[in-house]
Symmetry: C2
Subunit: 402 residues, 2 copies
């Protein structure tokens, strides 16, 4: 009845039994008169196994050779899955990234898709074959194999859906949808039936376990309906699309992120352009800054705080140490490692007065001290002590969702 793109991650194809299970899902879809293109990742631990083989030989191999090595992982999956479907008597053909026409830029291990030459994909689909494509990989203009980096198979699937104007892109995974909070943390977490692209992006700290941000951004750009669902349980998943059905729930999810370090530059002279200089220097060093807060100036001095992930905190501090003297600033720099960012996410919260107040109230009643507040159109985030984070998520979930 349409063209379906289905993506299955590494755990969904980790052994022969799981591959047979996936083959069942695919052939059921095919039998319902759909054309089916499937995108798969490397099986279970294959990528890690390959990486440790490489590490035994070279602790710093070139990214080109890493891509050459890693791309074998998905190639093994596509052939095995095709064999499983053959065994069931359905017409099927597997394709590597380059065979499926994935052309990328020259960045190895983290390439961007430039375009998909869909000629062969289309011709196989027109022959009513089930097409199994190796996710995560492509080739560059030099005919070298490239890989797309983290979440690459999701991106491959969305890119095919966009290029062929698929009716829906189904992302099968080991959870059965997007929840209002991490179900391992909040017992009453609810599965969302629908959610908008923007909400999904803001829910990234939940969604990272489910969907890569890059794939959501691409789906948003090309307006591809995404569906997140389980490869093991036959239950409805979560639909991610431009405009979600209005549900009673205003707040779509509560998220927690422990990967944030707050850096504070204290007693900065409040002269024009100081913020620009600090953040452009950090940007040049590829330091992504999340929440920025600047206190009001007092005696023409102010404090400026921002958060970064743990992986870049040393880079950020070194850049500041170098920069500040050149600005004639004698500032004290402090860092806080034991923070957590807790957020409530939901489109339209801006137009509903009192959401922020209700949030602060819920946290206050639980005796949780808020250290920093940051708001956006569809999100309110607070920085709190990491030890309070799980209690905060539970309290906010109770206040807004249950």
């Amino acid at each position: 009845m349409g063209l379906m793109v289905q993506k299955f991650g590494g755990t969904s194809v980790r052994d022969a039994d799981r591959i047979r299970n996936v083959a069942n899902i695919i052939t059921e879809t095919y039998k319902n008169n759909n054309d089916v293109i499937v995108v798969v990742s490397a099986q279970g631990d294959t990528t890690d196994d390959l990486l440790s083989k490489a590490a035994e030989i070279n602790d710093n191999p070139s990214k080109r050779e890493l891509d050459m090595l890693l791309a074998t992982g998905e190639q093994i999956t596509i052939s095995l899955l095709a064999m499983a479907i053959e065994k069931m008597g359905f017409p099927v053909v597997s394709m590597t990234g380059w065979q499926a026409g994935f052309l990328t830029d020259r960045t190895h291990t983290n390439a961007r898709i430039r375009r998909i030459d869909t000629e062969r994909l289309k011709s196989e689909v027109e022959k009513r074959k089930i097409v199994i494509v190796a996710g995560f990989q492509g080739i560059n203009r030099n005919d070298d194999i490239t890989t797309l980096g983290r979440g690459g198979s999701d991106t491959s699937a969305v890119a095919i859906a966009a290029a062929l104007n698929a009716d829906v892109c189904q992302i099968y995974t080991d959870v059965d949808g997007v929840y209002t909070a991490d179900p391992r943390l909040v017992k009453n977490a609810k599965k969302l039936g629908e959610i908008t692209f923007n909400e999904m992006l803001e829910l990234s700290s939940l969604g990272a376990q489910v969907l890569s941000n890059r794939s959501v951004e691409m789906a948003k750009k090309y307006n591809i309906k995404l569906e997140v669902l389980s490869s093991l349980k036959q239950v409805p998943g979560t639909l991610v699309k431009e405009v979600a059905k209005m549900e009673k729930m205003l707040i779509k999810g509560i998220t927690k992120d422990n990967d944030c370090v707050r850096i504070t530059v204290k007693d900065v002279n409040n002269v024009p352009g100081i913020a620009f200089k600090i953040f452009s220097t950090l940007g040049a060093k590829k330091v992504n800054v999340d929440i920025i807060v600047q206190t009001a100036a007092r005696d023409n001095k102010m404090d400026m705080s921002f958060t970064v992930t743990h992986s870049v905190v040393e880079t950020a501090l070194a850049a500041l140490d170098e920069l500040l003297p050149t600005l004639g600033i004698e500032a004290h720099i402090t860092r806080d490692d034991n923070l957590s960012k807790v957020s409530i996410v939901g489109a339209g919260m801006q137009s509903h007065a009192g959401v922020a107040a209700k949030m602060f109230e819920a946290l206050g009643e639980s005796g949780i001290n808020i250290q920093t507040i940051s708001t956006s159109e569809i999100k309110i985030s607070v920085l709190i002590d990491q030890k309070d984070a799980d209690r905060a998520v539970t309290a906010l979930h109770a206040a807004f969702i249950e």
Copy 2:
């Protein structure tokens, strides 16, 4: 000082240590001002591991998907070997079969090379890069991955040597050359310094452990010097070329082959065309026939014997059962399974009287009964009881070589 093609088989690259060892051989060759193109097989048991993964899912997968699966084996080796060479600080690039330009026919799992588009190979060599090519694989006109079948990596290496007019094609393996007899069987077996292509082909039952016949045939056709040598011992190997240096030895080797079943059709009416009908029928069933012997007719009846390998004996018998009645022949068919073919091989033996006599004498003195004799320009083969075969090889080696 020239272009060297070096091929390393699965055992030579089976783990990180062996890969480092191979990287040493390659970089030593490169440091001596040679351009180097390397062809490698899949590591150790990789191919078997992949085949058992497939068997778990489908006991009869399509050959196309098998090729897709198996081709990952060499792709893993090329990247790991390239990483080992990078680690040593040499410029290197790995290439899959299709990147190296291997275009084959459409026969999956046993494809023939049609041509090599050498453009990229040449351009990387001109940049003074060590080039590591995945053996055994190519693509067909449909851009589907194909594999070359048994001994395929040898064939890949010889094909590159031929296409780029290499000075020598070195086949590194786990034995250090071609011997006059199987060294595990005959203690005094000697390594040959040189041997001709034709002798190498006749020595196939020795050579099969060392060089695939297809690669020797191709080397002969394009007159590519082959060198068989060990990846573990630094000793001179065996050179295979058009005209070998005349060595004192007339007989180059003694071979034994237990994979032969003799089929005898007894009491056949000796009418013209009968042999043609039998062997064309067997040929149509892809039964390769080795030694053919026909007795002189008596009372216009004769016996016809031929040998086949165990794998096709049932096919051959079924074909005869079907054919003979249509010819109005009431023949008795017998089979002998416990035979061995023992041969002496050496160019020029035809012009030396007495070689055959000496052979039969040596066997007679050992009390070994000869059941069938077959001679060619550079080989004399006898069929004997399998239980006598090892003694026969030892006796012939003593008579002709020691």
